[in-house]
Every structure is written in structure tokens, then in C-alpha cells.
């Protein structure tokens, strides 16, 4: 659609994003591969933000050249096991009328 950016525009945004986030890639073709991931993420962000009914905005940041799997495998390492929540305490148990 005309609201979608053309590739040249996206490339310019990509180059600016690389500088802002201090990114540089080693492998041959890596920069182009990352550009495609970046362009897909940007498209998804702009589609989301074009919906006025959304309760939150999305935007470019340090993760914008990562696939969902890459992001998940590096940054989502919290773990909880049932045994760790065995000692539930009443200290903060809410009762009607609590002040």
C-alpha cells in the first residue's frame, strides 16, 4: 500500500539504526540477512501502530534485527518451578477491607 515504505526508505532507516545501536556484522551476507529480519520487524511494528485501538505502541530498539527465536533463546531465561513457590505466606494475603 502507499503507506508501506519502499525498500530505499527502509534501508536508510536500517543504516541509521545500525549506527544508533552500534551494530556491525562480520560474516559475508550477514548484514543483508539481518536487513531482511529488520524489514520484517519494522513492517509488523508499523502495522500494529497503525491501529488506533491498540493500548500500547511498539518501536525499534536493540532487538530489531533478531528473529523471535533468537530473542527468546538469549533474553528469556527466567525459570520458575513449582517447588520454588512451595512456601506461600499469608503476610500479603489480601482480605476485604485491608488498609
Amino acid at each position: 500500500t502507499d503507506s508501506q515504505r519502499n525498500e530505499a526508505e527502509v534501508r536508510t532507516m536500517y543504516e541509521q539504526w545500525l549506527v544508533k545501536n552500534g551494530k556491525n556484522y562480520n560474516g559475508l551476507g550477514e548484514k543483508e540477512r539481518r536487513f531482511k529480519i529488520f524489514a520484517d520487524n519494522l513492517k509488523s511494528i508499523e502495522e500494529h501502530n497503525s491501529d488506533p485501538n491498540q493500548s500500547y505502541q511498539r518501536g525499534l530498539n536493540q532487538f530489531s534485527d533478531l528473529t523471535a527465536d533468537e530473542f527468546r533463546s538469549t533474553y528469556l531465561r527466567g525459570k520458575v518451578e513449582k517447588k520454588s513457590v512451595s512456601d506461600v505466606e499469608e503476610r500479603y494475603k489480601y482480605k476485604e477491607g485491608d488498609v
Binding site: L60, R72, L76, R77, G78, S84, V85, Y92, Y94
Partner: protein
């Protein structure tokens, strides 16, 4: 309970938003933030503490450095370890390749806790009561939040049990988007609202939005003699001692 709480305004949150970098150490940042908070609330001292000490030293049973872990077990380590040092003494390196540094705990200022407890699960009102008393660590499922920028997150959640350890530092209500939890993340100030996320609160599922009410955990610090050793009192005692010595020498 207060309609709004923001522990940043009460000085119980280190102003600098920290960044875990390419290390899966969210659990250490959540645990450290909760201990920084309860320590300030109890002693009046806001001391930025060391996530790296947890990554290097609390390793091998439940927590595994950059590979992952949970704040709940980090609290157990801090109790066993007789405290945690500041990140000035033990700075963040963003990896877990180094061995645990032997810190001379007697000469270094450490912050101690006396225990940890779990908020009644799947109960956002109890979680609200807990947050009204201190910052609380929680697990959220955050895979769809990588490019969150602003607003109250009501978007999709990646799983039912949570995969990212973060710290609730307050709650409130947005006129447009309704009730929210104020969450301190560890992805740096460039992510979200200056490093913070507002997550939908009073969700129609007992687990809360994105599992936020599934396993909230907090450290306990009694108002005991350990406060006499808080840095400011420590300095005061030192000054007084020097005064007395100099008077005696005159």
C-alpha cells in the same frame, strides 16, 4: 490500599536502569532490584548491588548464570552467603565465564536479608497489597514484548507460566488504558518506557496478564541491629571515634 504506588518516587529503586546485555541473567537483576528496594525501605540506604556476584557465585543448583535461573533461589543464596555486595565492589561483566570472586565480606559493605516468601499465587489483589509494601519479583511471559515501546501492554502472551524474571515497582491506572503494573525490566533504558513496562492489571484470568501473578516472590529484611551497620551510621560511628581519639590526644 493506595490507588497508585511507585517505589521510584519513594527512592527505593536505583535510578540507573540496568541492562543484562546478551546474558540470560534476568533472574539476577530481578533479585537484586528487590533486595535494593527492601534494603532502602528498611534502612533508608539505597545501594546499587551486584548482579555479577549472583551470576558468578550462585551457580550449579537452581541458577545457572547467563543460561538462566530464578530470583527465588537467588534470595536463598544471598541468605546463605550472609549478604550481597555492591556493584561498585563487584561490577557487571555481562558474561558468566569468570569464577566467583572471593570478596572479603568483613571489610566490604554488604546488604543482608533474613528470608524470602511467596505472595499467594493467582491473586492480583494480594499482589497489589504486596507491592504496596515493597517491590516484588515476578515471572512474565515476555516473548512478544521485544519491541514494546509505550502504553499499557494488553498484547499476546507467549506462554502460561512465564519465561522472564522482572520486578514490579508499582501499580496505577491510566485514564485511557485502565489498570496496570509498573515493571522494571533489565533490557536497558532504550527499551520500553525508559526501561519500564506497564502491564495490564486486574486481568480476567487469576494468573494475571502474561502469568504475572503466578509466582511473585519477595525478600524479607527485619528492622534489626543490622541497620546499625548501615553505611551512613557506620561512617558516623567512625567519625565519632576519630573525634574522641583526637580529643584524648589533645
Amino acid at each position: 490500599l493506595p490507588d497508585e504506588v511507585d517505589w521510584r518516587e519513594r527512592g527505593a529503586v536505583v535510578p540507573r536502569v540496568k541492562a543484562q546485555g546478551d546474558c540470560g541473567g534476568c533472574w539476577a537483576f530481578a533479585a537484586v532490584g528487590a533486595v535494593e528496594g527492601i534494603n532502602q525501605i528498611t534502612t533508608g540506604e539505597l545501594i546499587s548491588l551486584s548482579e555479577q556476584e549472583l551470576l558468578d557465585c550462585d551457580r550449579g543448583t537452581d541458577n545457572f548464570g547467563c543460561t538462566g535461573g530464578g530470583a527465588v533461589w537467588a534470595f536463598d543464596f544471598i541468605i546463605k552467603n550472609d549478604g550481597i555486595v555492591s556493584d561498585e565492589v563487584y561490577p557487571y561483566s555481562g558474561n558468566d565465564t569468570a569464577a566467583c570472586k572471593a570478596i572479603e565480606m568483613t571489610t566490604t559493605r554488604v546488604v543482608t536479608i533474613n528470608g524470602r516468601e511467596v505472595v499467594p499465587e493467582n491473586d492480583e489483589m494480594s499482589l497489589k497489597k504486596a507491592v504496596a509494601h515493597q517491590p516484588i519479583t515476578v515471572m512474565i511471559s515476555a516473548a512478544n514484548m521485544s519491541d514494546y515501546k509505550s502504553g499499557v501492554y494488553k498484547g499476546p502472551c507467549s506462554n502460561l507460566w512465564g519465561d522472564h524474571n522482572v520486578l514490579i515497582v508499582g501499580y496505577g491506572t491510566s485514564p485511557d488504558e485502565g489498570d496496570y503494573w509498573l515493571i522494571r525490566n533489565s533490557w536497558g533504558p532504550g527499551w520500553g518506557e525508559g526501561g519500564y513496562l506497564r502491564l495490564q492489571r486486574n486481568f480476567n484470568e487469576p494468573t494475571g496478564k502474561c502469568a504475572v501473578a503466578l509466582a511473585p516472590v519477595y525478600p524479607i529484611k527485619s528492622n534489626s541491629s543490622s541497620n546499625l551497620l548501615s553505611p551512613s551510621v557506620f561512617k558516623l560511628v567512625l567519625l565519632l571515634a576519630f573525634q574522641l581519639i583526637s580529643l584524648a590526644l589533645l
